[in-house]
């Protein structure tokens, strides 16, 4: 039977997947300074897409399940990688990392924007932005 899975973007101000995958930041109107995330209620900033490629500034592996709430990830828990990715001309953003093996992560590794499924409930998959080593399959 064909199962239709609805995709729920965790926060539409944060990123969009259509027409293309884009991560958003805020650009301070007066200074051009880029911040992340974009906060719609702060009028000093306008929403702008951030670069979709960068380099790995740092990383770690989350080996234990964070307190839930606020953590709303899949259970049973499996360790996942997190890091900071330096997006040139913008800022250094925190992100979940998608990788085949934790051992492939290293500082300065070129990374590209992707999406990850945070959890699945029934037919709804909650999706968040993430980064993966450049050139690896999605």
């Amino acid at each position: 039977m064909l199962r239709i899975v609805n995709i729920r973007i965790i926060d539409p101000d944060l990123f969009e997947t259509s027409p293309t995958l884009r991560l958003f930041g805020g650009r301070e109107r007066t200074t051009g300074r880029i911040v992340f995330p974009y906060a719609a209620e702060d009028e000093r900033f306008e929403r702008v897409p951030l670069p979709d490629r960068g380099t790995l500034w740092s990383y770690t592996v989350q080996r234990f399940m964070p307190k839930a709430p606020p953590y709303a990830g899949a259970e049973p828990f499996e360790p996942f990688a997190v890091g900071y990715v330096l997006l040139p001309g913008a800022c250094i953003v925190a992100a979940r990392l998608q990788c085949r093996s934790f051992s492939e992560l290293r500082l300065e590794l070129p990374m590209e924007l992707t999406t990850l499924v945070l959890r699945r409930n029934d037919d709804v998959a909650t999706v968040i932005y993430g980064f993966k080593p450049e050139g690896t399959p999605g």
Binding site: I10, D11, L14, G25, V35, F36, P37, A39, W57, S58, Y59, T60, V61, Q62, R63, F64, P66, K67, P69, P70, Y71, A72, G73, F80, V82, G83, Y84, L86, G89, A90, C91, I92, V93, A94, A95, R96, F102, R106, L107, L118, T126, I128
Partner: protein
């Protein structure tokens, strides 16, 4: 500058004390400090106290005595103790008060701290995605530092081994069993590169200090321990702090660096004048990075320092002589004052098995807390 002196110090053992609330531990520490100073509660003219999770410090007047004393509650995360001391010293320096109490206590349940995004002005997705975890911040700050400055995992283990060795010698510590480096390195990984025994844990404890003006200290014949500096700073632009969805491209100094520089300037001292230091060691890497941020060495020198034992009790610059947060646990309201308490003990020469053998002229302590505050205290004789 008006001088202030520490004339009394009291501590409730850190760790886990079943059946005794954080407030009760705070009251016991306060009474112990008063007894140490030879004073009564009615002598205290102003009080600054705080706890993150164990209640309102000012309610202790019901246990200590209804004297009408001005009692200010302090809530500054891990820097609560330092902030309480900051307030108490400023009150003495204002000339309005001669005797002040600085108190910090906490009693945390087992497990990681429990932050909610909304309380920190952060969006829900940040917590939902599993990015809002304090141990991740420490691991990532450390990972970058280790890569840039060639710090190895063995050095992390040396810090933890030293902490547990010193804790075994400190009656107020929680973890009092020494462990070897192999055991520390082989323990479960929490957030790479940090293993279980390299981290502190939330716990319980209380510390109280009695401060006196110069006039009062001379009158009481208790001028042994002078406060040479207390500085408190919040984060400047570009600093990398816990719970940060993003970091500026242009790095800035940490609040530790600016608090440290201000403290040396206030005291008219430099790092070489310091004989013992208690540095925030939320985890082993934090102690290492804080050695450089507080001006004691250049980035990367820690690798050699630790291997050479320079920071052990009998080394050139003993660091975390009671085992720090790693051995004592982290009751966040109390830790900053525990560090000062330990320096008072070391300056008095009554540290027993953990007494630093070198002559101590100046003792330094540094506490750091989310969302980016640091406090530095320099004491001297």
């Amino acid at each position: 500058m008006k001088h202030a002196y520490i004339i009394g110090a009291g501590i409730h053992p850190f760790g886990r004390t079943e059946g005794r609330s954080g407030l009760e531990q705070g009251a016991l520490a306060a009474r112990a400090a008063l007894a140490d100073a030879g004073l009564e509660w009615a002598d205290i003219q102003v009080a600054y106290g705080g706890s993150d999770s164990a209640g309102r410090a000012d309610t202790l007047v019901t246990q200590l005595g209804l004297t009408g004393v001005p009692f200010v509650n302090v809530l500054n995360g891990c820097a609560t103790g330092g902030s309480a001391l900051f307030g108490a010293r400023a009150a003495i320096a204002s000339d309005e008060f001669d005797l002040a109490l600085a108190l910090g206590f906490d009693k945390h349940p087992r497990g990681a701290f429990d932050p909610k995004p909304a309380e920190w002005g952060l969006p829900e997705w940040y917590g939902a995605a599993g990015l809002m975890v304090t141990t991740q911040f420490f691991a990532m700050k450390l990972r970058r530092y280790m890569s840039l400055f060639d710090i190895t995992a063995a050095t992390l283990a040396r810090v933890a081994e030293k902490a547990l060795h010193n804790g075994a010698l400190a009656p107020h510590a929680w973890r009092r069993t020494a462990l070897d480096m192999g055991t520390i390195l082989a323990s479960p990984m929490v957030n790479d590169p940090l293993t279980k025994y390299m981290f502190c844990s939330p716990a319980e404890g209380a510390v109280a200090l009695i401060l006196a003006s110069e006039k009062k200290a001379r009158e009481l014949g208790r001028t042994q321990t002078r406060i040479k500096a207390v500085t408190l700073r919040t984060r400047p632009p570009g600093s990398f702090e816990v719970f940060a969805p993003a970091i500026d491209l242009t790095p800035g100094p940490s609040p530790t660096v600016i608090a440290s520089r201000a403290a040396y300037e206030m005291a008219g001292l430099g790092p070489r004048d310091i004989d013992v230091a208690q540095l925030q060691d939320t985890e082993a890497g934090a102690e290492i990075m804080h050695m450089a941020e507080n001006g004691f060495c250049e980035d990367g020198e820690q690798e050699h320092w630790l291997a050479a034992g320079r920071t052990r009790l009998n080394g050139q610059l003993p660091i975390n002589t009671d085992g720090g947060c790693i051995a004592c646990g982290e009751p966040i309201g109390a830790s900053g004052l525990r560090q000062v308490y330990e320096n008072v003990i070391q300056l008095r020469g009554v540290g027993g098995a953990r007494q630093v053998p070198n002559k101590i002229r100046n003792a330094y302590s540094h506490v750091y807390g989310a969302p980016g505050l640091a406090a530095v205290v320099i004491l001297g004789c």
